[in-house]
């Protein structure tokens, strides 16, 4: 398979990852570090890899920060290294470091403060950060699948396989998810046996048995989080977003068996390419056939290093030395003795109570300096081409720490496990601190059996499989080799964030004592790998520096997700139309075809203006509004919310929801009504039509229908649950055309024919007529939102276009939202800017409605002293004192004498063609809201200060002569 890395072409094998293929091609320099730009190679195999992060693909579908060991090779793969400029081999910024400069914790905040941080921000931001962000939302979201099962097992290693097997045998429905493409975890390279068979045979048999018992096995699938009985699993085949899947799993029991992450030991220059985790090197060799080096030096603090070194000898690679930090072992297990004798026969130098102090070499390892721990001065130089290091294992217990879980310190492991679990979760195996194969498998098996039983499965799981593998590691925690204070700057703890022992020491010296504070100050463990390798190391070294135990230092809190996700994966299908539906009125196509400029407004696409009337909304709106007043026009009102209220109790029910009574409306008539929230604030207004004795149509603001329906349902169901009332949102069942202006009556007659002409001629203000037109229902309501003579036509959606076209041909040109707004501001009619949830009926000048004394929802709380205070807002009109200046919505209103004390603000404003000047509606403190008051509208970001005069809210035709004509 061909692939390219940083523009160079390479060949790889099927089944390789990018990391294994590059190493097989002799490429060991895989990235540079984020801060010091030090050359870096591969440390680990898995999402914990801190160095070899790749950018894959091209803009805009580029995906950054993909760990090379997780990226499965495919033909034509195009990957690039990160944090380098102009190239990986030669990086300009790394010269900063060559000058001896090391930036300690807090360096940026302390250094770049003169003249201000902003002066440096651009340059530093350019150097900072990981990878390149995709340019657009071009990565498809993963599919989402919901699963339910008796037992979910996270982890397909020894413990996980044991758990899944036991649960399935007990009769439970099982889902098993494993992060790697293959099951087995550590089993496949420990030369382990299970029930006498080779581990790989046993894995195959378990896989077959699980399939036979109906268990579902997900590979490439990582548990990224979970709480309250819901576990999120992210499956990323090939390691690359864009082809991923999410599973939302609801198991009755969840067995956490996700193993443990090997951690390194800090020594000077331990970040050089060629310093690799021992387990990673073994896996590279067994799974991918790639040798990390021909002369490795093995360094660690437990018995396993001998087993691994012996296996290397068996595979034809002779380690130059095995360096054990522990003093000589007092008791030797049979297995250890066997491994040591292999090493002895091969002539491998084994040193106990020694440590690697440092390595030589820049782009790779040339030699290691090794010294006895008691006398570090007596150091010797051992030539080698790589250092394989193992400092123990940190349990992957993230899923066991969600939902408020605490950690417990295991002294023998130098590591933390989950302290206690809610009843639906169990931890087992290495994730629970059981590091030896047989113990991990037995613990997993027992956990699976117990989980199945608790989930209701009745059968027994049978005998526990007997495993044998590497000996008990008998680890003695060892976090870092001795170093001078100067050398601590090159003892790397968190490789991804370039956090060194020196940074930890400095954080402590500056008073950052708690592990969480140290983390935030030094950036320890904040990268893509979330401190998987460096976190435990940091805590251990911190404990050492503080002179405390690791148990008392603790570890920083872990939060989901376990590995980096694309935003597309988090958002999922909740985007675009599926997040926020855009509704189209029946006239949508007509508007588009006739120059309508459509914009989203309150979930609807609505026409702002028509292009023929002006170059922009402002110009066209004036033309359209002026024409309505002088002649007439039609506007699409289909977005009007409509709720039908029916039933024997409908009238009494509505009486309790509105400030005025619905029960006094005669059939065939309508009323402008206002309803309140329970705290007394105005919720919405609209016209309520009485269609029959027991049927009403309540109209609501555009886009408010859903909310009002829930409000209506709530009072029906919770407060007056005996009421016989049925509610239906019929918003989309009716198209609405509003014909307004002096010419509207004649045009309606011409469009609808003689029969309707007579009926329309007889309609009084707020009266409506129901009938048929063109074979379908038509309702004509005489009501006005413009102050002109106007009619609302409610018709079946399919008839809307024909009726509209007829009215346009009868001489009523269309107008849009901009003109609608001008007309209603001229009349002082209210929209959401005034009914903003903070205004009472009293504030909005609805004293007439309040005087009716109808005890509806919300009225009880209106009688509070605070609502009568002089600082309460009052709806007023405003005009510029000089009659010319522009006043805009949002401007703050003050007295001229007290420019910094706001009395209120402009809620809506418009240039009125009928009046020839700017007018506004505003909410102004009662103390200053008397008509004729001179105030100032302050708008420093746009227009500056404009002297204004308070007027009545109705600017035009205060006697409402026109709409009653």
């Amino acid at each position: 398979m061909r692939f390219s890395f940083d523009g160079r072409e390479f060949l790889g094998q099927r089944g390789d990852t990018l990391a294994s293929a590059l190493l097989a091609n002799g490429v060991t320099l895989l990235g540079r570090s984020v801060k010091y730009r030090r050359p870096r190679g591969l440390l680990a195999l898995g999402p914990e890899e801190p160095n070899a992060l790749m950018t894959v693909g091209e803009t805009p579908t580029v995906i950054p920060n993909v760990p090379a060991p997780q990226l499965v090779l495919r033909d034509g793969l195009n990957a690039r290294s990160q944090n380098r400029w102009p190239s990986l081999r030669f990086d300009v910024a790394s010269l900063l470091q060559a000058g001896g400069g090391f930036f300690g914790a807090g360096f940026y905040y302390k250094t770049f403060i003169w003249p201000s941080w902003r002066a440096y921000e651009g340059l530093i931001r350019n150097l900072a950060g990981l990878g390149e962000a995709p340019g657009a939302a071009a990565i498809p979201p993963p599919s989402i699948e919901h699963l339910a099962c008796d037992v979910l097992v996270g982890g397909g290693g020894a413990a996980g396989l044991g758990a899944a097997l036991a649960a399935a045998r007990a009769g439970a429905s099982v889902v098993l998810c494993e992060r790697e493409p293959e099951l087995g975890g550590e089993l496949d390279f420990e030369t382990a046996t299970v029930n006498g068979a080779s581990a790989s045979d046993w894995i195959g048999a378990v896989r077959a048995e699980l399939a036979g018992r109906g268990a579902r096995v997900l590979t490439d699938a990582t548990v990224i989080g979970g709480s309250d009985g819901l576990v999120i699993v992210h499956q990323v085949p090939g390691g690359l977003a864009g082809r991923d899947s999410m599973y939302r799993v609801r198991p009755r029991r969840f067995v956490i068996a996700m193993g443990a992450v090997e951690r390194p030991i800090a020594f000077t220059d331990n970040d050089r390419p060629g310093v690799m985790l021992l387990g990673a090197a073994e896996r590279l060799m067994v799974r991918y056939g790639v040798a990390t080096g021909q002369r490795p030096l093995v360094f660690g603090n437990h018995d396993r290093i001998y087993a691994a070194a012996a296996r290397l000898v068996g595979r034809g690679i002779r380690p130059v030395a095995v360096i054990d930090t522990r003093a000589g072992a007092t008791t030797e297990s049979a297995a250890l003795a066997r491994h040591r004798s292999v090493l002895e026969r091969a002539g491998v130098l084994c040193l106990a109570a020694h440590a690697v102090l440092s390595v030589d070499g820049r782009g790779g390892v040339r030699a290691a300096t090794v010294a006895p721990l008691r006398t570090p001065g007596a150091a010797r130089r051992i030539e080698c081409d790589c250092v394989l290091v193992s400092g123990g294992w940190s349990p992957s217990v993230h899923a066991g720490l969600h939902e408020g879980g605490e950690r417990r310190y295991l002294e023998g492991n130098g590591a933390f496990i989950a302290a206690s679990q809610p009843e639906w979760r169990l931890c087992a195996g290495a994730a629970n601190g059981a590091l030896e194969l047989a113990a991990a498998l037995a613990e997993g098996f027992a956990a699976g059996e117990r989980a199945a039983r608790e989930a209701g499965a009745a059968q027994g799981a049978g005998p526990v499989p007997v495993a044998s593998g590497d000996p008990e590691p008998r680890l003695v925690p060892f976090w870092r080799s001795p170093a001078s204070i100067a050398a601590e700057k090159r003892q790397f703890v968190d490789l991804q964030n370039d956090v060194t022992v020196a940074d930890l020491r400095q954080a402590l010296a500056e008073g950052f004592v708690d592990i969480e504070h140290v983390k935030r100050y030094t950036t320890l463990g904040v990268g893509t790998e979330q401190g998987r390798t460096g976190g435990a190391l940091g805590a251990g070294i911190l404990a050492e520096l503080k002179g405390e135990t690791l148990g008392s230092v603790g570890a920083s809190r872990t939060r989901p997700p376990y590995h980096p996700l694309t935003l597309a994966a988090i958002v999922g299908h909740r985007a675009g139309q599926q997040l926020r539906v855009l509704r189209r009125t029946p006239l949508h196509e007509w508007h588009e075809a006739n120059g309508g400029v459509l914009e989203p407004a309150e979930f609807w696409m609505r026409t702002r203006y028509y292009r023929a009337n002006g170059i922009d909304a402002f110009a066209a709106g004036i033309v359209e509004a002026d024409r309505v007043r002088k002649h007439g026009g039609v506007v699409d009102g289909s977005t009007l919310g409509k709720i039908e209220v029916a039933g024997a109790d409908a009238a009494r029910y509505l009486d309790r929801l509105y400030l005025s009574k619905a029960s006094t409306i005669k059939v065939g008539r309508s009323k402008y009504m206002v309803n309140l929230r329970e705290d007394g604030m105005v919720l919405d207004d609209g016209i309520v039509l009485r269609l029959a004795e027991d049927r009403f149509l309540a109209t609501t603001g555009s886009g408010h229908a859903e909310h009002m329906l829930a409000h209506f349902e709530r009072y029906r169901d919770t407060e007056w649950s005996g009421a016989e009332v049925a509610l239906a949102n019929v918003t989309e069942a009716w198209g609405v055309i509003v014909a307004a202006g002096p010419a509207s009556r004649a045009a309606l007659g011409a469009a609808l024919g003689p029969e309707w002409t007579a009926r329309i001629g007889q309609l009084a203000h707020m009266e409506f007529a129901d009938g048929m037109h063109g074979g379908a229902e038509l309702r004509v309501l005489r009501a006005s939102f413009s102050g002109e003579l106007a009619f609302e036509l409610h018709c079946r959606p399919g008839l809307t276009v024909g009726l509209w076209q007829g009215l346009v041909e009868a001489g009523l040109p269309p107008y849009g939202l901009e003109a609608l707004d001008i007309l209603r501001v001229e009349k002082g009619y209210l929209v959401g800017s005034e009914m903003n949830g903070q205004t009472t009926p009293g504030d909005l000048g609805m004293d007439g409605l309040l005087k009716l004394g109808n005890p509806c929802v919300g009225v009880a709380l209106l009688d509070r002293p605070a609502f009568r205070e002089p600082s309460r807002p009052k709806l007023v009109g405003l005009k510029a004192t000089d009659g010319k200046a522009v006043i805009l919505g949002g401007a703050q209103i003050t007295r001229a004498s007290a420019p910094s004390r706001s009395l209120g603000y402009i809620t809506s404003s418009a240039y009125s063609p009928a009046l020839g000047e700017w007018i506004a509606l505003a909410l102004v403190a009662r103390s200053d809201a008397a008509e004729g008051m001179n105030l100032v509208a302050r708008d420093p970001l746009r227009g500056g200060d404009v002297p204004v005069r308070v007027t009545a809210p109705v600017h035009f035709d205060p006697g409402a002569e026109r709409m009653k004509s």
Binding site: D228, R250, A710, R714, S721, L727
Partner: protein, 80 residues
């Protein structure tokens, strides 16, 4: 808590439901019912609507600190 069991529809994802309010103590004044609702950490009586389902209004008693739902009752019979 990421699921509610609707008495009419069964167990459904939380995103189908809309929280409305914590109910006031019995006998609270109208002012107190709106403005002085206590948030009890162990036992909270709430109104929810199964808004993207059967639209029933639900009285939910739950323990907000543990997320345990103690009781769900449909109010008003869920008619429509």
């Amino acid at each position: 808590m990421n699921r509610l069991v609707c008495p009419f529809c069964g167990a459904r994802e939380l995103e189908e439901f809309l929280f409305h309010k914590t109910l006031p103590e019995a006998g609270a004044s109208e002012y107190s019912a709106v403005y002085e609702r206590t948030n009890r950490l162990d036992d909270s009586l709430e109104h929810w609507q199964h808004v993207h389902g059967c639209r029933a209004w639900l009285e939910v008693r739950r323990n907000p600190s543990s997320g345990d739902v103690l009781e769900i009752r449909m109010i008003g019979g869920g008619r429509n």
